[in-house]
């Protein structure tokens, strides 16, 4: 969950630019969830997500003086984390497609925004991670930023460095696959 802060994000960023470590800690607390969930779903690996999240914030601290308020800070942070995720996937040179066998027992999860039990929650997590792993990385990023982070296509284009048209195509392809995936798994007719 996002944590509360007394200062606005703009004030915190300004203080962090001036070298205030406490302000930067506040920024981390406010954005940790966003960055972690992004890297988690991109890589499908919780430990890798932790490393990439930490790495993203260290980079953000090192480069914060170069942030001149152009665009929003949220997008700037997400761009750093997205690049970390993409670089990681490029480095390991594989599409991190998760093993389908792992999900054989979860072909028909109880889809709901609020899973009641820990097991349902885990099943839901697995379903999402498996689906995400079947997407090419750029589609995965577009789906993550659009659907989960609720960003506009323009913002996603700025973060991913792709044209808006490309981002829309990537997202559309991901949604088509989600629909096919749901039909295949019997979630939807």
């Amino acid at each position: 969950m996002e944590r509360e802060s007394n200062n606005s994000i703009e004030q915190l960023v300004q203080l962090a630019i001036e070298g205030n470590r406490d302000a930067f800690s506040e920024i981390m607390k406010l954005n940790m969830n966003k960055i972690f969930t992004l890297t988690y779903k991109m890589t499908g690996d919780k430990d890798v997500a932790k490393d990439l999240t930490q790495d993203s914030f260290v980079t953000a601290w090192e480069k914060i003086k170069s942030f001149r308020g152009e665009g929003n800070f949220n997008g700037w942070l997400l761009r750093i984390a997205s690049n970390k995720g993409l670089n990681y996937l490029k480095r390991i040179k594989q599409n991190v497609r998760l093993d389908n066998d792992q999900f054989e027992n979860h072909l028909q999860p109880n889809l709901s925004n609020q899973p009641d039990t820990e097991m349902e929650r885990k099943e839901m997590q697995n379903s999402v991670l498996y689906f995400m792993s079947t997407l090419p990385v750029q589609q995965r990023l577009a789906f993550e930023l659009r659907f989960y982070k609720e960003l506009s296509f323009k913002e996603i284009a700025e973060i991913s460095g792709n044209a808006i048209g490309t981002v829309k195509t990537n997202y559309r392809e991901a949604v088509k696959k989600l629909r096919e995936h749901a039909i295949e798994k019997g979630w939807r007719k």
Partner: protein, 179 residues
């Protein structure tokens, strides 16, 4: 708008508020597209939320701690002010001494005067004569070779005696001659 185009647009929508008036109008009169849109929205709505992947508070705290440690490790070493002052003082000293020495002519003491003597004058004259001799000798040599008798450089080299070739090789850059 055709239904296919509408469905393509609907796929990009994650919230009803994003529906344009033309899409709304189409959904009002097309049951198939309306059904498609509702199904899509339900599917997306059901497909979990970010909360499923949130780190626990202890995981968040551990990450923040690690990040802070990493930042502290990477903190650049700050050179204390007194170090800067001592470097500045040393520079001022060196530049000051150099300036004063130039002003007072101290450096002139170490300049080596060059005196012309009979030996150096003779050596220069000899060198000059040698150069004139060489120039004359090479000129005569080329005249003897009658270069105009040969149509190409290759022809010239073909008829050149070993002795002449050796002489040319020792005294000229053959590549330059051929150019």
């Amino acid at each position: 708008m055709k239904c296919n185009e509408v469905k393509n647009e609907l796929m990009l929508i994650t919230d009803d508020k994003e529906l344009t008036s033309s899409l709304r109008e189409h959904l009002l009169r097309c049951a198939d597209c309306k059904k498609y849109y509702e199904e899509m929205q339900n599917l997306l709505e059901d497909f979990g939320s970010d909360d499923l992947f949130s780190p626990t508070d202890s995981e968040t705290d551990a990450m923040i701690k690690n990040i802070n440690n990493e930042i502290t490790k990477k903190k650049p070493t700050i050179i204390p002010l007194h170090r800067y002052l001592s470097i500045a003082a040393a520079l001022i000293l060196v530049l000051g001494v150099t300036y004063i020495a130039r002003k007072t002519g101290e450096f002139d003491k170490y300049k080596q005067p060059i005196y012309a003597n009979s030996d150096s004058i003779n050596r220069a004259e000899n060198n000059s004569n040698l150069l004139n001799d060489d120039y004359e000798m090479y000129g005569n040599y080329f005249e003897q070779l009658n270069l105009e008798n040969y149509e190409t450089d290759e022809e010239f080299l073909y008829y050149l005696s070993d002795e002449d070739f050796e002489y040319l090789e020792d005294n000229f850059d053959v590549k330059e001659l051929l150019l």
